[in-house]
Structures are given as structure tokens and as C-alpha cells.
């Protein structure tokens, strides 16, 4: 492989790596080597760098297969998604960063590295790169989850994440070994050929793929590998939780999509029952689990599990419509979640927990924040006319069109009602409870701007979806 090819495929990753290194240096120069943390300059470099890289991703041209990776429109979609996520998370982190006793420079750097890993995964076309990319993402996130060493909860989150993550990674490597043994290749295309050409999938290959599924299920937050989510979401610093809930979940989605649509391809039908079952359980656990929660971040963790269930439902159909639906879904989910976590950052500023009481009577304290959180909850619940409704609608339509998924479709409809219930319970707290703490909520203009952006996006793509749908379609086109 020549360097030019490497750059054509992994250009974004190269930029991100350079940005990470620049950040380390800036941080060092800025803090003069002192351990008191970074300042405006580091932050500026992060924003400018991520912004420039985001712009650059729009100039990416599909390249096709290379020796170590590929760049198709699907990869480009996810690179844009990940860089945008990183930018939004850093933006969201701005009001939070003061709470890091130190290490803000490293915080930015770790986020950039995690993004680098995610982008690498978007372009991977063999299992070795997949594993390495996944490790890069997971290990940086381990560190990030434990980024408040003074808070036992944060440490606990980090440790739980590490151990369950290690188990999942172990299974995954094992699975990859099986796949390699059965097909003699790491290459997705070769594995695909073996699967499609053989009448019945070899046993070793089946087991390998199943164990791979374990690893991906862990990322995605699908039952039964969802157990870490509530604890880690609650314990991790809020911006990291946002990164986990969007970026990390998206890597799971991305790889699942590669697995189902590209690697299994025509054979995806064999997995419909399995994925359907997992979707069923995930929907059940996520939605029921969310009901009794009293911590906002934990609550959003369960809500994220429920959303993973919806995405699995779409995956189970294996159709092109469902792929479009998933990409659309992820995009709307990104903005709804960023908005929700940013509100959490603002309201929990005075105390380091996100108990639901903190949003009681938010409507009186800050009508703007109340509106943002309400829109976000309604979009997540799938209430029209917000973007989340169309995301759910597209998924359900794909599932109905498939025809064989009726039991799960019905259950998922029931679960949408349950979801409506708990999301509206949050809305109810905002508008119908007395505030526990009536101190003034301060926000910078930037924070306001980000909240406004999220609301506008959720609303705009709720009533005028075509651009986003076209975007998602273009992204999913290369899978088929």
C-alpha cells in the first residue's frame, strides 16, 4: 500500500492524529508544564481543528477498497457523524470542563483520539483493523469515564466499564480467531464470499460471528450486554456520557451494519430471528428499566438501550430501507441527546449529580432550557412533529414492509407508549413541579447557541426531512 492510498482513505484519521498531537503540545506550552489544566487556547485549537476536519470530510471522495481500509459513502457518512459528534461533545463540555481539577488538555486529546478510532472503524474492511480501532475507542473511553478521579462514582464507572469491556473484547478476539480459522481471511469481502457461497455456514464461522456479535452488542448496548450502561452513564462525567451515548453507540451501529449488510449480505435472513429476539429483549429492558429511574443520566442510559432496541429491529430486516432509516435515526438521536446532556450539564452545575429533582420547575427557572429539554424528550419519545417521530416511523415502516417481524413490531409499538410515558414524566417535572432549587441558571452565549441549534435541527428535520433523508440515503447507498 502506498502512502497516497493510505491518505486517500485515512485522511481524516491523519488529520485527527495531528490535531491530537498539536493539542498535547499546545497544552504543554499553554500550561507551561504545570498541572493546573488548559485554557482558552487549547479549547480554541480543539474547536478550530475539529471544525476544519468536519469541513474536510465533506470533500472526501469515495475511494473504494484499499489494503487496510476502504472509503465508501457509508464510511464518509460515519466519519462526518463522528467528527460532528466530537465537535458537539467538546462544545457541550465547555461549561463542564471547569469541574475537571486538571487535565483539560488531555480531555480534549482523548476525545480526539476516540474520534480517531471511530473514524478508523468507519473505514475498516478487515477484522484486524476493526479490533484495533475498537480498542482505541474503548480504551480512551475507559479513561474518560474515570476522568473525575476524586469522585468514587466516576472511578467505579471506569472500572466497571473496563472489566465488562475487557470481557466483550475477549469474546470478540476469540470470535475473530474463529472467523479467521474458518475462512482463512480477515477481509470482510472474503468472509462474505465464504458465507454466501457455502450452502450452510460452517460451524466455526457461525460461532465466530456470534462472538463478534457479543462485542458489538456491548458497544451498542443491546441486551444482555447492556448492563454496564446505566452504571457507567451515571458515573462518568456528563460530556463523556454524551460521547458514550452517541459516539460509542454509533460505532456499535456502524459495525453491526457492516456485519449485517456487508458481511452477511444476502445471508442476513439467517440472522433475522436472532436479531429480532435481541431487539425484543432490548426494547423490553430499556423501556421498562427507564420507568423507575430518578437519575437523569441513568434514565438516558436506559432510554439509549431502548433506542438500541429500535435500531436492532431495523437491522433485523436487513433491507435497504432499514439502513436508510438507521442513519436517519442516528442523526436525530445525536441532536436530541446532545441537547438533553447539555441541559443536564447546566442544571447540575451546583451539585455533582443529575437527580431528576434538579429539573423540577425548570419552566419557571429558565423557559428556554425547559423548551429545549421538552423538545428533546418529545423527539426521543417519537412524538410528531419532531425529527424523532420520523426516525421511528421509518424504522417501523421498514419492519412492517419486511412482514416477518410482526410480533416485535407490535411489542415495539407498545414500548413506544411506555416510552412516551416516561419521557412525558420528565416533561411533567419540568412544567408541573415546584423547583427544588431556584438559583439562577447561568449559560454562556455559546451554550445557548448549541441548545438552539439542537432544537432547530430537531424541529426542522421533523417537518422538512428530505435533506436529511437524502443524506442518509446517500450514506447507506454503498452498502448495497
Amino acid at each position: 500500500m502506498n502512502p497516497a492510498e493510505l491518505f486517500d482513505i485515512f485522511g481524516t484519521e491523519v488529520f485527527l492524529a495531528v490535531l491530537a498531537l498539536v493539542l498535547i503540545v499546545t497544552d504543554l506550552l499553554d500550561g507551561g508544564g504545570k498541572l493546573t489544566g488548559a485554557s482558552e487556547k487549547t479549547r480554541f485549537v480543539t474547536y478550530a481543528g475539529l471544525g476544519a476536519i468536519l469541513v474536510s470530510t465533506f470533500f472526501l471522495e469515495p475511494y473504494g477498497d484499499g489494503q487496510f481500509g476502504q472509503l465508501d459513502s457509508f464510511a464518509i457518512f460515519f466519519k462526518q457523524f463522528f467528527v460532528a459528534t466530537a465537535l458537539l461533545v467538546m462544545w457541550l463540555a465547555a461549561p463542564y470542563e471547569v469541574r475537571f481539577p486538571a487535565g483539560r488538555g488531555e480531555f480534549s486529546m482523548l476525545i480526539v483520539f476516540a474520534t480517531l478510532g471511530m473514524c478508523m472503524l468507519a473505514s475498516c474492511n478487515d477484522f484486524a483493523t476493526l479490533f484495533v480501532g475498537l480498542e482505541l475507542v474503548t480504551i480512551t473511553l475507559f479513561m474518560l469515564a474515570a476522568f473525575r478521579p476524586g469522585l468514587p462514582r466516576s472511578i467505579e464507572a471506569g472500572i466497571k466499564f473496563v472489566i465488562i469491556g475487557a470481557v466483550a473484547a475477549g469474546f470478540m478476539v476469540y470470535g475473530i480467531a474463529f472467523i479467521y480459522g474458518a475462512t482463512g481471511s480477515f477481509d470482510f469481502a472474503v468472509v462474505h464470499d465464504v458465507i454466501v457461497s457455502s450452502e450452510e455456514m460452517p460451524g466455526a464461522l457461525q460461532f465466530g460471528l456470534l462472538m463478534l456479535l457479543v462485542g458489538l452488542g456491548f458497544k451498542l448496548g443491546a441486551v444482555p450486554f447492556h448492563v454496564w450502561i446505566p452504571d457507567v452513564y451515571q458515573g462518568a462525567p456528563t460530556p463523556v456520557t454524551a460521547m458514550l451515548s452517541v459516539g460509542s453507540k454509533a460505532t456499535g451501529v456502524l459495525l453491526m451494519m457492516r456485519l449485517v449488510y456487508s458481511i452477511l449480505g444476502e445471508a442476513a435472513g439467517q440472522w433475522t430471528a436472532l436479531l429480532m429476539g435481541l431487539a425484543f429483549l432490548t426494547l423490553l429492558m430499556g423501556n421498562l428499566g427507564a420507568i423507575p429511574q430518578t437519575d437523569l443520566k441513568r434514565f438516558l442510559g436506559y432510554s439509549g438501550i431502548a433506542h438500541a432496541g429500535f435500531l436492532m429491529l431495523a437491522l433485523a430486516t436487513g433491507s435497504q430501507d432499514s439502513a436508510n432509516a438507521i442513519l436517519f435515526y442516528m442523526s436525530t438521536y445525536l441532536f436530541a441527546n446532545i441537547a438533553a446532556f447539555l441541559v443536564i450539564v447546566v442544571v447540575s452545575r451546583t451539585a455533582d449529580n443529575a437527580h431528576m429533582d434538579r429539573i423540577n420547575g425548570l419552566a419557571n427557572r429558565s423557559p428556554f432550557l425547559a423548551l429545549v429539554l421538552t423538545v428533546s424528550m418529545l423527539s426521543l419519545a417519537g412524538v410528531p412533529p419532531f425529527a424523532g417521530f420520523f426516525a421511528k416511523f421509518m424504522v417501523l415502516r421498514a419492519a412492517v414492509d419486511h412482514g416477518g417481524l410482526m410480533p416485535v413490531v407490535i411489542l415495539s409499538l407498545v414500548m413506544v407508549v411506555v416510552g412516551l410515558y416516561y419521557y412525558l414524566c420528565v416533561v411533567k417535572r419540568i412544567y408541573m413541579r415546584e423547583a427544588v432549587d431556584s438559583s439562577v441558571l447561568e449559560m454562556s452565549g455559546w451554550t445557548r447557541g448549541l441548545l438552539l441549534l439542537c432544537v432547530v435541527v430537531m424541529f426542522l428535520f421533523g417537518i422538512y426531512q428530505s435533506p436529511l433523508v437524502d443524506f442518509a440515503r446517500a450514506g447507506a447507498a454503498s452498502l448495497f
Binding site: 484486524a128 479513561m143 474518560l144 468514587p152 428499566g289 423507575p292 415502516r397 412525558l424 412544567y431 413541579r433
Partner: protein, 737 residues
């Protein structure tokens, strides 16, 4: 309020011009990839509903201005109220299934905020939740129905779907579509067995009850049924379901209304009765039946809205809605009494009120019901007779007789709170005086929208002595008797209801209770916060899945003949086994870690025996490092809690899971090993490592050359981890915030 007035005037101006053919249509593409349009259409049917929504909206908004005078959240009320009105208007005007659904959901969401408006009351919150859950569940059923219907018809446009009725009725999904649409309509319109949420929702402020629960929102389901009538009706399933459900709802609602002592709850039950009647008539295909439904819809909205507002006045001015406490208020509240009286006359169907026309049409329609005319007529008579009794309770009890012991000294309500009831009562009278105009202007076009052939209906107050007139006389007689005997009747019904084993409300509570308990139980069991449970459940699931696949594929041929295994290999196995047993029995962590090292060494020996010394060395290095690091860390931790009796159960479970997992993995490995090794890849690297990368150690060549990119990635991972760990550990500790 202005929106309502403007909307009303705009709609009213179009009355008469909209008949089937020249319906007003506006459409813009909305979601092109799904073929969903932002399309609105105003035809006869939509017209009636749109007039209701805007007209009642105007008077109720006027009323609410005075009702909420000085209320701190008045602004919020009007925000939600306006939102609801727009949504409702959108619902009845939408010409696209999906668009209609969007508005349908919007009415649900905004009504949730309105019902729960008096949020200080726990009851208000609970009933808001109940209304939301019941109608929300129905709404989603409707969504599924809408998707199926759209797929079956190949279009989302309602006007096109209506035209393809035969196609739909013969479609294989007809029954599911019907069931799902019914689920949506019945929940929204409080039909049996979902009727219970409506009276509970009476915890809402009066304007909300008047507007949502009599005039508009609950009519949403009726609208849906009427709208889809041309598409779905005409089968026995449709006719029977609607007739039976409608009849049960009507009679049951009427019966329970007699039982209620809270006037508002009584009104709610009479609304349930009215909705049942409407459903009943939509089951019919005869024009006269549909005309009855539309007429009664108008009648009901006019008198019910007025009565709700009257009760609101009583509540507001006298401080109670209990029928036992009210009495003799006609002097204190003359205008309220007058409007109550007029509305009640229309309700009980005396000529020359519009109610009379409605009732006559109802009987005529009931007799024309194809499936079971006497069931329909019987239900209608029974329900109407009880309606007469209730009209008496509402219009006579509070205003005549001895003065009741009201909590507050009653006086007349301000003008804005009288305008609505008076105007609506008067409208009931005025429209009743000119049946031909009403018939030709509103009802005929609405019916036209539902039936393909041209409408041929005559509307008049007096048709001569006919069966319907006789039934009317019977109704009034029965009604008066029921009024006189109301206390006795109430006791009988009380006893009857008390003896019912299952009630809708009770079932709802039970189901919600189950879900909440289930959810809590589930999270308590599965989300313990303990890593042990998490790992155990993960391993258990993986083992079970793998075992399932293993068994389904059939066990691989296992070569369990161990006779040829040389002595030294047994030694290695024994070493590993000893390590495992020591780990299990270890009393301290340190011993356990050392024993694990033993296992690692055993594995390394296996690598040596099979000719991979480099892998063995790696294994040994890693193992030694791990043991050393753990050995350094572990002594700093608190003492290991030895397993006591209470934890035996855990250990047993863990042991089972571990054994099962080990067995599955071992079988798997043996199975794979017995298949034979593919030497192709090895051959490739053997042939290429020297010419391609000038290296003789294949493993090294793979690491630094063939897969150099991955190796670099791994190095980056490690470097990042190291950097971050340094950042965290080298910093001063943060205080617990």
C-alpha cells in the same frame, strides 16, 4: 381565541359551497420519499367538525378568560389550548393519513398538558397520565393501522384511499387494519371497554372538559370512523363491531351517569353515552343512519358544551358540583339557570329544539340499521330515556327546590362565562327551528362525503305519526319516570356496579401496576450495580446462545480417545488443573493470583509442546507481568471477604454458569480442532515473508510488515492509555464534591 373566531368565520363562509366534488384542497409535498404530502382538504364532513372545533373553541376560550382570571398560569393554559385547537383543526382537515396521525398525536400530547393543568392535585396528574396512556396506546395502534392501510392502498392521500374502498375491503390485511383503526378510535372516543378514562379526566379544569371531552377531542375517534367509513364500512365485521360496541357504550354510559352525584362526572358519563350512540350509527350504511350520527354530533356538541360550562359556573360560583348540595339557585344565577334549561331541553329532545330533530333521526336511523334494528333502537330508547332523566337532574335539581347548603354564597357568573352556554343553547333552538337549512347546509354535504351515491334526505320537524315519533313519546315517558325514581335507581345501579368483578378502571390500574412493579423488579434483579451479577448474566447468556447453536447444528464429531496422549502432556494438564483448583479454594487474593500464574505457565507449556516457542515466551512474559503487577496492587486493597453461608447461593450459581460456559467452549474447541487446519495462509506467509519483507520470523513479519497498520494502531492505543493514565494519576486528588 382570535384564531378560533377567524377560523370559525372562514369555515362558516364556506358552508354550502363544499359538497363532494368541489372540496377545497391544498397540498404541498412534504416527505417525498414516502409519498407523504402536506395536504388539507375541506369537504362536508370536515366542515362540520371544523365548525365545531372553531365555534366551540371560541366560546370556551371566552369562558376561560374569565374562569382563569388571576390564575398564575393563565398564559400557559392558553398556549396549550391554542396548540390543541390547531392540532384538532389539522386532524379534521388533513388529507394525508400520516399528516392526520401527526395531528392526532398532537391532540393527545397537548390534551395531556391540559388535563394535568391543575397539577397541584395528585388526582389531576394521575388522570392526565391515564388519559395519555390509554389514548397514546390507541394512537400507536392507529399508526400501525395507518401504515397497513397506506401500504394496502398504495397511497397516503385520504381522498384517494376513500375511492379505493373495494380494494381495501378485499385486501388480506383488512381485518388487522380494521382492528387497529378501531383500537385508535375507541380509545380516543372512550368506547367500551376503554370508556373509563373519560370520567377520570374530569379532574381537568372546566373549560378543558367542556372543550376536549365533549365537543372536540373525543370526537376525534368518531371523525376517524366517519372519515374511513367509505373505505372500511360495508362489511359485517364493521357493522357488527360498531353496533355492538356503540350500543354497550351508550347504555352503559347512560346507566352510570344516573349513578354519579358529581355533576361533572355525570356529564362525562352522558358524553360516553353520546359517543356510544355516534359509534352505533356509524356502523350503519343507510344514509339516514349517517345523517342521524352527524345531526346528533352537532346537537350533542351544542348542549353538552353548554352544560359543562353551566356546571363550571356552578362550581366556580357556588363552590361545589355535588348534586346533593345544590338547589334553589335560579334566583341567584338566573342566566345560568336559563341556559341550563335550554340546553337540557335540547338534550332530552323536546321539539322544537335541534335535539328533537336529532332524536327523531336517531330512531329512524336505528330502525334502518342493517345488522340488528331492534338492538339499535332498543339501546337508543333506553339511553335516551336515561338522558331525559339526567337532563332533569342537571337543569332542575340545582336551580329549583329548597336552597342547598353550598360552600359559597352563589351569585351570577360574569358575562364571558354566560355567553358560551347561552349562545350554544340559543343555537340549539335556532337550528332546530330551521331543519331544512341545517340539513341542506351541513348534514347533507357531510353525509355526501361518506357515501358514494347522491344524498336524498329530507329534514323536517314533523313527519306525521311515525314509529320514531312513538318511540320519542315512549322515551320521554320513561325518562320522566326515571327522573322521579332516580334515587332508587341510583341505589340499584350502585349495587350492581359494586358487584361487578371487572371494571375498566380497575383493569387499567392493575395493568399499570404490573408494569411498574415489573419494571422495578426487573431492574432490581438485573441492575444490581454489582459487577458480579453483570458478568454472570453476560456469561450465562453467551453460554446459552452458543449451546443452542451447538445443539441445533448437531454436536461436532468429538475425538475423545485419549489413549495416545504421552505422559508429559498429562503432566501439563495436571498442572493447569491444579492451578484452577487452587484458585477456587484460595483464601486470599494473592494465592489466587499466583495459582492463575500456574495456569498461564501450563498454557505456555502447551504452546512449547506444539512447536510455537515464541508464542509461549509471549504468554509467559505477559503472565509474569500480570502476576507481578497484581501482586503489587492487591496487598493495598482491603481484606478479601471470605465466602460465608449467605453467599453460598451466589457461589453455586456462579459455579453452574462457569461450568456450563467451560463445557460449551471446550466442546466448541474440540469440534473446531477435529475439522482440520487450513494450511493455505501459513503457506502464503512462508512463501512471501522473505521475498516480500526480508524477514524469516513469520510472526514478526506479519506484525511489522503485512499488518503494520494494525500494529501501529495498537501502539497508539497503548500510548494513549499510558498518557491518559499518567494525566489522571499524576494530578492532585480532587475533593469529593
Amino acid at each position: 381565541m382570535l384564531i378560533a373566531l377567524v377560523g370559525f368565520v372562514l369555515c362558516a363562509m364556506r358552508v354550502g359551497t363544499v359538497t363532494g366534488e368541489d372540496a377545497l384542497t391544498v397540498a404541498r409535498p412534504w416527505v417525498p420519499f414516502l409519498g407523504v404530502d402536506f395536504a388539507f382538504r375541506l369537504d362536508g364532513l370536515s366542515m362540520v367538525f371544523a365548525l365545531l372545533v372553531t365555534g366551540a373553541g371560541f366560546f370556551v376560550a371566552l369562558y376561560a378568560q374569565a374562569y382563569f382570571k388571576g390564575h398564575p398560569d393563565r398564559g400557559r393554559f392558553f398556549l396549550f389550548f391554542g396548540m390543541f385547537m390547531v392540532a384538532m383543526l389539522g386532524l379534521v382537515l388533513a388529507d394525508d393519513l400520516l399528516l392526520m396521525f401527526v395531528f392526532w398525536e398532537l391532540t393527545t400530547a397537548s390534551s395531556f398538558m391540559l388535563i394535568g393543568f391543575s397539577h397541584d392535585l395528585e388526582k389531576a396528574r394521575a388522570s392526565a397520565r391515564q388519559a395519555l396512556l390509554v389514548t397514546g396506546a390507541g394512537g400507536l395502534a392507529l399508526l400501525a393501522g395507518v401504515v397497513l392501510l397506506g401500504n394496502a392502498a398504495g397511497t397516503w392521500r385520504i381522498s384517494e384511499i376513500i375511492a379505493s374502498g373495494d380494494l381495501i375491503r378485499q385486501h388480506e390485511h383488512y381485518i388487522p387494519i380494521l382492528v387497529l383503526v378501531f383500537a385508535g378510535a375507541f380509545t380516543k372516543s372512550a368506547q367500551f371497554p376503554f370508556h373509563f378514562w373519560l370520567p377520570n379526566a374530569m379532574a381537568a379544569p372546566t373549560p378543558v372538559s367542556a372543550y376536549l371531552h365533549s365537543a372536540t377531542m373525543v370526537k376525534g375517534g368518531i371523525y376517524l370512523l366517519a372519515r374511513l367509513h367509505p373505505t372500511l364500512a360495508g362489511t359485517p365485521e364493521w357493522a357488527w363491531t360498531l353496533t355492538v360496541v356503540g350500543a354497550i357504550t351508550a347504555v352503559w354510559g347512560a346507566v352510570l351517569s344516573v349513578r354519579a352525584t358529581d355533576l361533572k362526572v355525570a356529564l362525562a358519563w352522558t358524553t360516553v353515552m353520546a359517543l356510544g350512540t355516534l359509534t352505533l350509527f356509524l356502523g350503519s350504511e343507510a344514509q339516514i343512519g349517517l345523517a342521524a350520527a352527524i345531526t346528533f354530533l352537532l346537537v350533542h356538541a351544542l348542549y353538552k358544551c353548554a352544560l359543562f360550562l353551566v356546571v363550571g359556573n356552578l362550581d366556580h360560583e357556588a363552590g361545589t358540583r355535588e348534586v346533593g348540595l345544590l338547589g334553589g339557585l335560579r334566583r341567584a344565577m338566573p342566566w345560568t339557570a336559563a341556559s341550563a334549561f335550554v340546553a337540557a331541553l335540547s338534550m332530552s329532545g323536546f321539539p322544537p329544539f335541534l335535539g328533537f330533530l336529532g332524536k327523531e333521526l336517531k330512531y329512524e336511523g336505528a330502525l334502518a340499521v342493517a345488522s340488528e334494528p331492534w338492538l339499535a333502537a332498543g339501546a337508543a330508547v333506553l339511553a335516551n330515556a336515561l338522558m331525559v332523566a339526567m337532563a332533569g337532574v342537571l337543569a332542575i335539581r340545582p336551580f329549583f327546590g329548597p336552597k342547598g347548603a353550598t360552600p359559597r354564597e352563589a351569585h351570577e357568573a360574569p358575562f364571558p362565562m354566560l355567553a358560551g352556554p347561552l349562545a350554544m343553547g340559543a343555537l340549539g333552538l335556532a337550528l332546530g327551528l330551521m331543519p331544512p337549512i341545517v340539513g341542506a347546509g351541513l348534514i347533507a354535504p357531510a353525509v355526501q362525503a361518506m357515501v358514494p351515491e347522491s344524498v336524498d334526505l329530507t329534514f323536517a320537524m314533523f313527519h306525521g305519526i311515525t314509529a320514531p315519533l312513538l318511540l320519542s313519546v315512549l322515551t320521554v315517558t320513561l325518562g320522566v319516570i326515571a327522573y322521579r325514581l332516580r334515587d332508587k335507581l341510583r341505589r340499584v345501579i350502585d349495587a350492581f356496579v359494586g358487584a361487578l368483578p371487572i371494571t375498566g378502571d380497575g383493569s387499567y390500574r392493575r395493568v399499570v401496576g404490573w408494569i411498574a412493579d415489573g419494571a422495578e423488579g426487573l431492574t432490581r434483579i438485573l441492575q444490581t450495580g454489582r459487577l458480579r451479577t453483570y458478568l454472570a448474566s453476560s456469561f450465562a447468556v453467551i453460554a446459552a446462545t452458543l449451546a443452542y447453536v451447538l445443539l441445533r447444528n448437531g454436536l461436532p464429531p468429538l475425538d475423545l480417545d485419549a489413549s495416545g496422549v504421552p505422559f508429559h502432556k498429562w503432566g501439563v494438564v495436571a498442572l493447569i488443573a491444579a492451578g484452577v483448583v487452587t484458585v477456587l479454594l484460595a483464601k486470599t487474593r494473592l494465592v489466587a493470583v499466583c495459582a492463575l500464574g500456574l495456569v498461564g505457565a501450563g498454557v505456555a507449556l502447551i504452546f512449547v509442546l506444539y512447536g510455537a516457542p515464541d508464542v509461549a515466551i509471549t504468554q509467559l512474559m505477559v503472565d509474569i507481568l500480570v502476576v507481578a503487577i497484581l501482586g503489587l496492587v492487591l496487598p493495598r486493597l482491603p481484606r478479601y471477604e471470605a465466602a460465608d453461608g449467605t453467599k453460598r447461593r451466589f457461589r453455586l450459581v456462579d459455579a453452574t454458569i462457569a461450568t456450563a460456559f467451560g463445557l460449551v467452549m471446550a466442546t466448541l474447541l474440540l469440534g473446531v480442532a477435529s475439522v482440520g487446519v487450513d494450511r493455505e495462509i501459513t503457506a502464503f506467509y512462508e512463501a512471501n515473508s522473505v521475498p516480500g519483507a526480508l524477514g524469516r520470523n513469520i510472526v514478526n513479519v506479519i506484525l511489522v510488515d503485512f499488518r503494520a497498520f494494525d500494529t501501529m494502531g495498537e501502539v497508539v492505543v497503548l500510548a494513549v492509555a499510558g498518557l491518559a493514565a499518567w494525566a489522571l494519576l499524576a494530578r492532585p486528588k480532587e475533593d469529593e464534591a
